[in-house]
Amino acid sequence: MNLSKILKNGFLILVASLVLSACATQKKTGQLQGDVYTGTDSVEYLASGVPDRVFFATNQTVLTTASRDTLRKQATWLRKNSKISVVLEGHADERGTREYNLALGERRANSAKDYLMTYGISSDRISVLSYGKERPVDSGSNPLAWSKNRRSVTVKAN
């Protein structure tokens, strides 16, 4: 009884310290979940509460839960502003060959496009443009910088 209580408390303390240390590193290096960027450093807003970009894991094009949340906000905003068209700009980090990254950027932007379309935004209002690794937002050569650069950014076209 006592022992298990001690163990349980000890466990809680351990968990708490892990959370704390995680917080500490997050503060220092920005935020990463796996290797997907979850911070707001480079993020701009299409409207209040509507972030303009979503982030991807290395070599991946699937949307994370957070990305889907962002895109649903974009879809809501686009439904309210039915005259606005957007360009989805797909990007890759610098750790890949140029041509493959162009294809990867195109695929990332299309992941975002497909999701907006399932939330009722017409494909006529969405165009896609891949920059591959040509337009990083962060010029760093480290995992955090690369995570910010793996992105699809929704840009107003009109």
Binding site: S139, S141, A145
Partner: protein
């Protein structure tokens, strides 16, 4: 216009003899051949005239310097210091005193003579086997004076070919992307230069992003990717006239272009709805053909020199790997099975090897493998490097390398490098600006 040089080539004494001295080309620069490049002799009147036309004190010495530099850069030759030469250029060209050249350990000797004939530059040169005391090659060229560097390159190619048994690669040019500005707002222009870095010219102004220029192996056309009007499309550029046109009418991004070996088709990727496949377009009848049809990314296609096969990059296995298929898209076969990711396959002009970029454990490698994927050899390792392009004789690879930035995100640079197929003789290729995406032309004269 720019490049329409008329080079009148006339052969003085075509002699056929067995190579008595040989360069061991399988061992890179381990034992470069000692060679003496005598300044080409020039009479006083011609020297004065060329000085007026070309603003060069002694054009004979200048041409010899081009030859010497080419041979040295190849890593296969060791041009000897001129201070040690005992014989004057004019006398050496008539009949070398072989004992004198033997004394300074030269195994081969290049001599020559420059004259001004009817406003034209006339150059004769001879290659001598010092040990056997024999002439190996003797040729003469007549051309317009401004072509003097090309004469040096052609002489270099003749010497290289005679002594190695392989075609040279000196009378060639490199097209590349010149880069400037911060990493996040890079300005890129198409640029072209001689293989030795001279005669650099910018071909675009930098108003739009341009990437991956590649030469047509049969003429002076170039294909590349331009973001003109923010529509990334494959373009065709005639570098003689400056004329440009979009290749094909695609409703989406086209990229990763390359010419077929006969120069009649462009092979490239077309991306639509998140999927990239490979297409060809015939430049004569404009017929577009789809080559791959797969939900994965298929890109970076490159034809075999006989045009029968295509190597390309695909992530159909889950990650980037190299595949080979017949030119009609059938018989797709994965050939890269080593650890890591593989990209940018490019078929050697000799046909026997495929050069590639490999990413493994955070490092980038340039390597070669046989066309069935066996015999993988990594030539160089670095933080970031990619996009090898073959010299026309399949002997040297040129590629680009980027540096890691510091903690402030500063210190980025992109430079061209070359390396011998053996992995020896890795060299920085000097450019006026930062540079990437190099592509090697065919021999201009043949």
């Amino acid at each position: 216009m720019l490049f329409r040089y008329l080079l009148l080539l006339l052969i003085l004494l075509p002699i056929k003899s067995f190579a008595l001295i040989e360069v061991d080309i399988t061992r890179g620069n381990l034992s470069p051949l000692p060679i003496a490049v005598s300044p080409l002799s020039i009479d006083e009147k011609s020297r004065e005239n060329f000085k007026k036309i070309l603003k060069k004190e002694n054009i004979g010495s200048e041409i010899a310097a081009v030859v010497e530099n080419n041979l040295k850069q190849s890593g296969l030759f060791n041009p000897l210091n001129k201070d040690a030469f005992l014989q004057k250029p004019d006398i050496a060209n008539l009949k070398p005193r072989f004992e004198d050249w033997n004394l300074i350990k030269a195994q081969a000797l290049i001599t020559g003579k420059v004259t001004l004939v009817d406003e034209k530059l006339r150059v004769e040169f001879r290659l001598w086997d010092v040990l056997a005391g024999k002439e190996m090659v003797a040729l003469a060229f007549t051309t317009i004076p401004s072509n003097w560097r090309r004469v040096g390159h052609i002489i270099s190619d003749k010497v290289y070919e005679r002594l190695t048994g392989e075609k040279g690669y000196f009378d060639t040019r490199i097209i590349y992307v010149a880069e400037e500005g911060p990493k996040t707002k890079r300005i890129k222009k198409l640029a072209i230069m001689d293989q030795d870095g001279f005669n650099n010219k910018f071909l675009t102004l930098g108003n739009e992003l341009v990437l991956t220029p590649r030469f047509n192996p049969t003429n002076q056309m170039v294909t590349y990717l331009s973001y003109f009007k923010n529509l990334p499309r494959v373009y065709l550029l005639d570098i003689e006239t400056g004329m440009q046109e979009v290749v094909g009418d695609f409703a989406g991004m086209t990229f990763a272009p390359r010419f077929s070996p006969d120069g009649k088709k462009i092979i490239m990727s077309f991306a639509k709805d998140g999927n990239s496949d490979i297409y060809t377009m015939d430049l004569e009848n404009r017929i577009v053909e789809r080559i791959t049809n797969h939900p994965s990314i298929d890109t970076s296609p490159s034809f075999s020199p006989d045009g029968k096969y295509i190597c390309f990059n695909s992530d159909r296995s889950g990650y980037q790997q190299i595949y080979v298929m017949s030119s009609n898209g059938k018989n797709v076969k994965r050939i890269s099975f080593g650890k890591g990711l593989y990209g940018t396959p490019v078929w050697s002009p000799r046909g026997d090897l495929i050069a590639f970029t490999k990413l493994h454990k955070g490092k980038f490698y340039i390597g070669v493998m046989r066309t069935d994927g066996t015999g993988e050899r990594l030539l160089t390792e670095n933080f970031y490097q990619e996009a090898p392009s073959w010299s026309p004789n399949g002997r040297v690879l040129i590629f680009y390398r980027e540096t890691k930035t510091n903690s402030e995100g500063e210190g980025f640079s992109a430079k061209l490098w070359s390396i011998d197929l053996t992995g020896y003789n890795e060299k920085l290729v000097e450019t006026e600006t930062d540079a990437s995406d190099p592509s090697w032309s065919s021999l201009l004269s043949n």
